[in-house]
Symmetry: C2
Subunit: 110 residues, 2 copies
């Protein structure tokens, strides 16, 4: 993995919300998708992923339910709530602003 945790820090929840904005999903699947989409350059650690789920559920941004698959390990699915959708939009806007600020600050000024 090339991208460090401090650079991704604070984006975990937004990444999860982005997936759930598309469709209900579960931890293992979301993590696989992230790895695919970044060509393995990034993956969420399980502890990070599941603790983010807990935070988001406690704050009412997502809800969970057990999947009823006949085969395979059991899955806990998550769905995004209106509050979660609002947080997602806010985080996206914050990220846009942060990006432009950081770009300004880390570049040399001459």
């Amino acid at each position: 993995m090339s991208i460090t945790s401090d650079l991704i820090r604070g984006h975990t929840e937004t990444i999860i919300l982005a997936y759930l904005a598309e469709r209900d999903s579960y931890g293992y699947e979301i993590n696989k998708k992230i790895q695919e989409e970044t060509d393995r350059r990034y993956e969420l650690k399980e502890a990070t992923l599941y603790s983010a789920f807990r935070r988001l559920e406690e704050s009412g941004c997502i809800e969970s339910y057990w999947g009823n698959q006949q085969t395979g390990a059991r899955r806990r699915y998550y769905r995004i709530t209106p509050a979660g959708a609002a947080l997602y939009r806010k985080n996206l806007a914050d990220w846009k602003e942060a990006q432009s600020l950081i770009n300004k600050l880390v570049s040399t000024k001459n």
Copy 2:
């Protein structure tokens, strides 16, 4: 301040190095410049700033010396070392990659 610490986290050292790549400077000045440049939307907290200085000095990325001003409070100036310049370039490259990865991950996929 509109930008949260978790989004800026991990960039503090790079921001400092960017200033020192231009010219030797000291904590108070760097922080003022950051505030100006971001129209007060962001400032480093003093504890954050000075602990970043300490980290950077311990790892040999910057060196410090006391300024010899006749008047005003004493200033501890910092200069960037070759190791610091190398770290700066690496951090910039990492940030570029992180930016594109995060943009991919936080956007909806349809």
